[in-house]
Amino acid sequence: MAAAKKVFGAAEASDLVNELRRSFDDGVTRGYDWRITQLKKLLVICDNHEHDIVEALRHDLGKPELESSVFEVALLRNSCKLALKQLKNWMAPDKAKTSLTTFPASAEIVSEPLGVVLVISAWNYPFLLSIDPVIGAISAGNAVVLKPSELAPASSALLAKLLEQYLDPSAVRVIEGNVNETTLLLDQKWDKIFYTGSSKIGRVIMTAAAKHLTPVVLELGGKSPVVVDSNTDLKVTVRRIIAGKWGCNNGQACVSPDYILTTKEFAPKLIDAMKHELETFYGKKPMDSKDMSRIVNSNHFDRLSKLLEEKDVSDKIVYGGDKDRENLKIAPTILLDVPLDSLIMSEEIFGPLLPIITLNNLEESFDVIHSRPKPLAAYLFTHNQKLKERFAMTVSAGGIVVNDIAVHLALHTLPFGGVGESGMGAYHGKFSFDAFSHKKAVLYRSLFGDAPVRYPPYSRGKLRLLKALVDSNIFNIFKVLLGLS
C-alpha cells in the first residue's frame, strides 16, 4: 500500500536544507565512525537487496540481470569497500613543503567536508549514478540530499525506501520527483551540486549554482567515437564494441560507443564481423533476446525512431532497423555512411543505433572528432603503437580507452569525468572523496625569527634582502646580511 505522497514545496525544500545544515553544524557527519557506519549500511544494501534492485531495474529498463548485478550492484559494492578500506588514509592531512621565504613554518593540506550537498542522478544507471556519488559525499563527511530520476520510477522509489531505512535521516535524504521538485531544490543554497545527465540540463544546473557560488561536478555526455584501424584483432574488437554498446543498457549510457570511424576499405569486413557476432550474442531474432535492456520510454523511442526515419538516413541501414513501440524495443541497428550533418550524427544517440562513417584514410578521423564537441570518451582499436600515442595525446575527451570499451568506468584509480560539453569535475575512488571535499591550506608559523625586511619603513637594504629571499638563493641572503652586496 503506497503512502500518500507528501507535498514538497518551497517551504519543504528550505526546511530540508536547514535541517541538514543543522545536523552538519552539529558535527553529525564529521566523525570517521559516522561515515564508516553509513558506508557499511550501503554495503548491506548491496548485499541484502540485490534482488530488489535487479527487479526495479527490470521494471524500469528491462535491464538483464547480469547488467544490473555487474554494472550497478557489483560496482557499488566495490566502491563501498574501497571507501571503507581507504577512508582513514583519505581523511589524513597531506604535508606540504615550505620554502625559505616562509621558514620557519610547517604546512599541510586538510580535507574538510563542504557541508550540505545535492546529488542529482540519471535514469540509465539509477542505482550506480545515485549511490556512487553519495558514497563520495558521505566519505568526505557531508550531509547529502539525493534526487533520483523520475524516469526510472521503481528504482527511485526503491532508493528512497532503502536509504530511508538504512541511513541516518538527519543527514541523508532522498527527494523523489520531477522537474518541479528539482527546480525547488536548485533554488536552495548548496555547498556542492553533483549532476549526472544531459549537457542541456547541465547548463541549467550550473546557472542555478552560480547564484550561490556553488561549485559543481557535471557528468554529462556526448558522441563517443570509436576509431577502428584495419590493423587490429577484428573479432575481439567487434565483440567489445557490441558488448560496450548493446550490452550496456542497450546504448543508453554516457560512454556508449556512439559512432564508428573506419576506412572505406575496412568497413565491409567490419560490418560482416559485427553482423556475425551480433547474431552469436543475440540470436537470429534480437527483438526476442532477453540480454538487452529496452528503450526507457516512448519519448525516447520516438526520438530514436525520428533519427532513423530522416531522409538520407533511413536508406543507410545495413542491419536491423526493426522497431516495436508497444514493447519499447528497437533492434541492434547499424547504418553505413549517413550524412555527417544528419540528426543522428548531431546529437548523442543514446540508443541501439550505430552509424559507421567511412573515410579514405584513418588520418581523417582526427579531423572528424576534432570538429565536434569534446565527448566523454573516445575509443581506438589498433595494434599500431604510434597511432595509439597520437590518439591519446591529441584527442580531447573526458577519457580515452584503447582496445576496449567503457571498462575504464570500473577503475577506481582513474578519474572519471568530462571536458567541454561532456562535463567538468571527476569522480570514482579517491577522486570522489576529493570531489566532495574542500582542501584547506594550513600554515603553522612560529612567532620567533621575524624579518624586519617585511615591514615599513622601507629602505634599499630591505629591498635587496627581499629580492634575495625571493630568489631563495642562500648565498645572496648572506651576502646582503653581511653587507657584502
Binding site: E65, L66, S69, V70, A74, L75, A96, K97, S99, T101, T102, A105, E112, M206, T207, A209, L213, P215, L220, T237, R240, I242, Y282, S289, D291, H370, K388, M393, T394, S396, G399, I400, N403, D404, A410, L411, T413, L414, G420, M424, H438, K439, K440, A441, V442, L443, Y444, R445, L447, R454, Y455, P456, P457, Y458, L463, L466, K467, V470, D471, S472
Partner: protein, 486 residues
C-alpha cells in the same frame, strides 16, 4: 562596441588556430614564454614600480615584495618544475584488468580567459598567465581598468615579449568584460568580488565553461592574548604589516577584523598605535610607505562605512579621510556593532575593527556566523583552540601566528570556499588549474574473456561477480569447474 566585438572575435579565432596548430603543446615553447615573462619583469622593474606607484601609490619595496618578486618566483618555479608537472601519472590497475595499463595525462583546456583585479594588477595578471601557459593554453588577459597604468603597461609590453598569436591582452571595463563573456572559452579564471563572481559563473554556465573564482571575504584574525603575550610585539607588527602594509588593506587576504578578549583589547590597541606610527610616521599620508585607495568611488565607499554614527563612535584611532588625495588614514575601531555595514561586508581598506569577546572561544561562533572567508588568521599557542578553529570553521586557508604569508608558500593551494571562491592555484596548482586531467586506459586485444559477452548464463554471471569482487581464488575454482555457478 562593434569594433570591440570584432577585435574579440578576431583574437579568439587567432588563438584557437594557434592552439590547433599544436605550438603551445611543446614544453620548450611554454618555458620560453614563461622565461619571457620573467625577463619582462626583470627588464622593467623600475617601470613596473612606477606604474604601481601611479595607480596605487605603492612603494617600490611593497611592489617588489607583493607583486614583482612573486611573479619572478612563480615563473622560476614553473620553468624548473614544468617537465615534472607534465609527466603523465601512471595508475595501478586491479589484477582483473591485467595486462591493461592506465595513466592520467594533463592536457590544456584550449583557449582561456584571465580576468584580473586592480589591487595587485601585475601579479594577479601574470601569475595566472604563467599557470595558463605552463599548462599549454592560449590565453587572453583582461586587466582591470581601475589600475590603468598597470593595464596599459601590460597591453603594450606583453606583445613585445610573448608570442602574440597565443597570448593576448585586452584593456577595458565591464563593457569589454560583457563582450568577452558572451563568447565561448575553454576556461575562465577570475579574481575579484563575489558579486561579479556570480555574474562570471552564470555566463560561463551558458557554455559549460569551467571556472576558477578567486574572490574575497572578511578574513578574521583571532588574537589569543594570554598564550602569545610573550611575543606580543611580533604579533602586533605582523597584524600592522598585514593590514596596512599591503595595499592599505585592499587585499583579498587582508586582515579584515580582529577578535580578542575584552580585557586585552586596550593593551592591543595601545601597541598597535605606536607600531603604526613606527611604520608610517606621524603623517602616514606623507610617508610614501602606505598605498592609497584606488579610486574616489572606493574612498566614498569606505567613508560611508564610517558614517554610521555607531561606527563613528567606535573610532579609537585615525578616522580622517582626504577624498581628493584618495587617502584614508589607518583607522582602528573598537567594537563597532556586529550588525553594522562595516561588519558585514569585506572592508577592503585601512580600517581595522577590533571585536571583543568574553572568552576567546566565542570568536569561533562569530566567524561561523559569517560567510566562509579566504583566510583565517589566529595568533595562539593553545593547541585546543587551534584544533577547534581547524575543525569548526571553514575557510580557503588557515594561518597560525602570522598573516598573509600563505600567499608565498607555493606548496599550498591558494583559493577560497563558499563565498570566497571556487578552485585554487599557485605552484603546481596553477598548472592543474588550467589542465584537463584526461584518463587513458589501454586494454590488451590478446587476452579475451568469454564471460564478458552475451548470451548471458549463470556461469558468466558468477564469473563476473567473482572477478569484480577480486575473489581470484574462487574465480579459479569456478573456471576449473570446482565451484558451482549460482
Amino acid at each position: 562596441m562593434e569594433a570591440m566585438k570584432e577585435t574579440v572575435e578576431e583574437s579568439l579565432r587567432e588563438m584557437r588556430d594557434t592552439f590547433a596548430s599544436g605550438r603551445t603543446r611543446s614544453l620548450k615553447w611554454r618555458k620560453r614564454q614563461i622565461t619571457a615573462i620573467y625577463e619582462m619583469v626583470k627588464d622593467n622593474e623600475d617601470k613596473l614600480c612606477s606604474v604601481l606607484f601611479q595607480d596605487l601609490g605603492k612603494h617600490s619595496t611593497e611592489a617588489f615584495r607583493d607583486e614583482l618578486g612573486h611573479v619572478l618566483r612563480s615563473a622560476t618555479v614553473a620553468i624548473n618544475c614544468l617537465d615534472k608537472w607534465a609527466v603523465p601519472k601512471q595508475s595501478n590497475l586491479p589484477l582483473l584488468f591485467f595486462p591493461a595499463k592506465g595513466k592520467v595525462i594533463s592536457e590544456p583546456y584550449g583557449t582561456v580567459l584571465v580576468l584580473s583585479s586592480w589591487n595587485f594588477p601585475i601579479s594577479l595578471s601574470l601569475d595566472p598567465l604563467i599557470g595558463a601557459i605552463a599548462a599549454g593554453n592560449t590565453v587572453l588577459l583582461k586587466s582591470s581598468e581601475l589600475s590603468p597604468n598597470a593595464s596599459a603597461f601590460l597591453a603594450k609590453t606583453i606583445p613585445a615579449y610573448l608570442d602574440n598569436k597565443a597570448i593576448k591582452v585586452i584593456e577595458g571595463g565591464p563593457d569589454v568584460a560583457t563582450i568577452l563573456l558572451q563568447h565561448q572559452w575553454d576556461k575562465i579564471f577570475f579574481t575579484g568580488s563575489p558579486k561579479i563572481g556570480r555574474i562570471i559563473m552564470a555566463a560561463a554556465a551558458q557554455h559549460l565553461t569551467p571556472v576558477t573564482l578567486e574572490l574575497g571575504g572578511k578574513c578574521p584574525t583571532i588574537v589569543d592574548y594570554p598564550t602569545i603575550s610573550k611575543n606580543i610585539k611580533s604579533v602586533v607588527k605582523r597584524i600592522t604589516g598585514g593590514k596596512w602594509g599591503s595595499c592599505s588593506g585592499q587585499a583579498c587576504i587582508s586582515v579584515d577584523y580582529v577578535l580578542i578578549e575584552k580585557s586585552f583589547a586596550s593593551s592591543l590597541i595601545d601597541m598597535l598605535k605606536p607600531t603604526i606610527r613606527s611604520f608610517f610616521g606621524e603623517n602616514p599620508k606623507e610617508s610614501g610607505c602606505l598605498s592609497r585607495i584606488v579610486s574616489k568611488q572606493h574612498v566614498q565607499r569606505l567613508s560611508r562605512l564610517l558614517n554610521d554614527p555607531r561606527v563613528r563612535a567606535s573610532i579609537v584611532y585615525g578616522g580622517s579621510i582626504d577624498e581628493e588625495n584618495l587617502y584614508v588614514e589607518p583607522t582602528i575601531l573598537l567594537d563597532p556593532p556586529l550588525d553594522s555595514e562595516i561588519m558585514n561586508e569585506e572592508i577592503f581598506g585601512p580600517i581595522l575593527p577590533i571585536i571583543t569577546v568574553r572568552d576567546i572561544q566565542d570568536s569561533i561562533g562569530i566567524i561561523k556566523s559569517k560567510a566562509k572567508p579566504l583566510a583565517i588568521y589566529a595568533f595562539t599557542n593553545d593547541e585546543n583552540l587551534k584544533t577547534r578553529i581547524l575543525s569548526e570553521t571553514s575557510s580557503g586557508s588557515v594561518t597560525f601566528n602570522d598573516v598573509m604569508i600563505q600567499y608565498m608558500c607555493d606548496a599550498l593551494p591558494f583559493g577560497g570556499v563558499g563565498e570566497s571562491g571556487i578552485g585554487r592555484y599557485h605552484g603546481k596548482y596553477s598548472f592543474d588549474c588550467f589542465s584537463h586531467e584526461k584518463a587513458i586506459m589501454e586494454g590488451s586485444l590478446a587476452m579475451d574473456l568469454e564471460a564478458r559477452y552475451p548470451p548471458w548464463n549463470s556461469f558468466k554471471l558468477s564469473f563476473i561477480r567473482l572477478a569484480f569482487s577480486e575473489a581470484y581464488f574462487k574465480l579459479l575454482l569456478l573456471m576449473l569447474g570446482l565451484k558451482r555457478s549460482k
